[in-house]
Amino acid sequence: MLARIAHELYWLGRNLARAEFTARAAEAVFQSEIQGTTESLSSVSFGSGGLLAMLGDVDEQSSSGEALGQLTLDPEHPGSMLASVERAREGARTVRDVISAEMWEAINTTSLRLRGGGQPGWSAPAGPYYASQYVKERTALIWGVANRSMLRDEAKCFLDAGGLIETSDMVLRMLRVALPPGDSAADVHALILLQAVGGFHAYLRAVTSPPNAHPVARFLLFERAYPDSVAACVDSLHEAFMAADVGPRNSKPVLRVSRLAADLDFQRRALPEGAELTGICEQVQGELTRIDQDVAERYFAGAASAGERR
């Protein structure tokens, strides 16, 4: 297929996943910030400031309400859900002939509904919350439509690959912001991280330890049975590239992804309980950036290259 089309699909996946995770995180932070702290447990630091930091916005010192507003419906803020959805819509328009009509419609409707401050009931202060809920529901629907209506061909592989790499990147960002440094994390609970990712119930079924920072971080990093964990995303990413690549045996991105998958598996077994994890998060994220570059080089050659905004 055309490199340009593959590239658009890949970024459509990334933007959809980005909107979804921004929404999930904003919702969790909102829920948590309208209530106070618990008495007996200290919690990981993941508030609205952390939310902006997670999206790489460090300069701005905004209040909680402003931060949430920026992240949801602010068209000027490139990290807002609205901006991500708009970019996704632009991309989808470009590949309208490749994706199904249903999928295009689902994406288009979402974007139209979010514009101009969203729905009438979404007035402040609860507006960001309602908007987040809406985006969460819509992205779930869009992915569902994609899985049921698109052919499982190369196009779908690139769409999925974009979503997977963005999901793991977002989870890693969240962990990097929220994980307390060093040993101080032992008794700090991390419910909010699970709520932000949406893995609260899965965690409880899979892990017997209380949801403290360390076991939660391990779960989000290494638990291959949980689809939004970094390890599971990397596994699926590998499958997607294996299917899409003409010569996977000597494909740089395929080799790099497969190395990362093996590495994560090794870390899971080698790292003692309670070991420091922020370093690994940073490493893995760096590796994902390199994979992203390899992908651009190998598949999208010349069409575009990913780079940092600003």
Partner: protein
Amino acid sequence: MGSGVQTRVAETYHPHAPFRDELFEPDGTPRPAAVALVHELRRLGPEGLMEAGRRRDAIFMQQGITFETSGGAGSSHERPFPLDLVPRVLSGEEWRAIKRGLAQRIRALNHFVDDVYHAREIVREGLVPWRLVASCSHFARAVHGIRPPGGVYTHVAGCDLVRHSDGSWKVIEDNVRIPSGISYVLENRAAMARLVPELFGSYRVRRVDHYPQLLLGALRAVAPSAESEATVVVWTPGPANPAYFEHAFLARQMGVELVEASDLVVRDDVLYTRTTRGLERAHAVYRRLDDDFVDPLEFRPDSLLGVPGLVRAYRAGSVAIANAFGTGVADDKAIYCFVPEMIRFYLGEEPILDNVRTYLLSDPEVLEHVLERLADLVVKPTGESGGKGVMIGPHADEAEIERMRALIQADPERWIAQDVVRLSTVPTVAADGTLVPRHVDLRPFAVFGERIDIVPGALTRVALEEGSLIVNSSRGGGSKDTWVLEDGDDADRAGPPIADTLPPALPDLRYGAWVGQQQQQQQGSLGD
């Protein structure tokens, strides 16, 4: 919403003297802590509240947070759990007094259970009559002499408190068997944050959602498993039980199995669950059914429900049961009168929370006095819970009072009488969206493992009918979210610190468009 509507909410609100209203002063102005809340309620207006109410019902139906009501003629239908949208607000200071009082009370009750099944010191001291203990229907002879791990019997407790017109809190009932309602505390909070987040606006409300973790921690702390992580299960009588929602909720929130009797088996004094991988040991059981139905070998022989041999395993110390068997002796309504004595006897402290004045009818003189004043008193059966069989004198007609008189005379020891408490009121949304005063009680929940933890929040039950004092949900009561406020004001709320090394800015796609490279020719003019 026009300005006329905005004022209507507050203007039509008249606290019912002589009852204390918790949000409004007697003259109808908001109490200091409620000013911001009342402001937001006014902003929402009746229409806003009714709209939120409709969304609430839809969400509760979707999530299956419902209860069955019988519509007569044997038919029953599901109704969304009636959560009222006006929260009840407790200051940090008020909460601390309640919390200390509750912890003290539960500690004393736990001592009492231990004492009753062992040395009976409080009986020998002449403080509690033995015949009263022995005649409790929940006095469990089968567990005489068994001391559970850590000496903890009342792992989960919920006391019902009411607020008198003078502002003082009184305990009206203890629940140390299988108190229910905690799921509504958590679900109410989640629903409020979702439905009317604006009400939280300038308040700092303390969280309650760590309760399942506290409970799990307490259960693990008392579970007898030296070598490995303890396996905890929640035992439900099954989906037909009215509290099944709560059982499933707690199991899911704790991430443990929800089991029924047929999933459990005792072999050689050890409790196992039947799994697809064979028998797996269970170390702690949070059981949500009465003693009577847990073990047909020891309790009700005519019931073949339950797990035969469970008491045996419990006696052998191979499994922890929460709450322990036989705790019902401590929340019997006749024993209730003696709780202040227990606190003095076991803890050497003065009770922080008072009882409501209660009359034990086994004394003939008291009995006579009570029978004369039945119309002014509340009469309760001693062995029941959940408002079953309760008669409220001032609200009963002649025939009801006479029926009760006959019942009491037939068996006076099975009843107690109490003074009527003037339950406080909290504004509640009426069918037309306006606020009306309705009576409430308060049920905070405590978890007793290595220590006593009390989640900062409670189930506030509200009598939805005008003037009614019966708050039980089985009898038409609803509930409210209960806010315990953090100390200190809004200003000293700094956001949590952020990690030192931050992730890079988000990558973005950048099209590789052609970029022209030309040099502008610049040539200064020579002339100027």
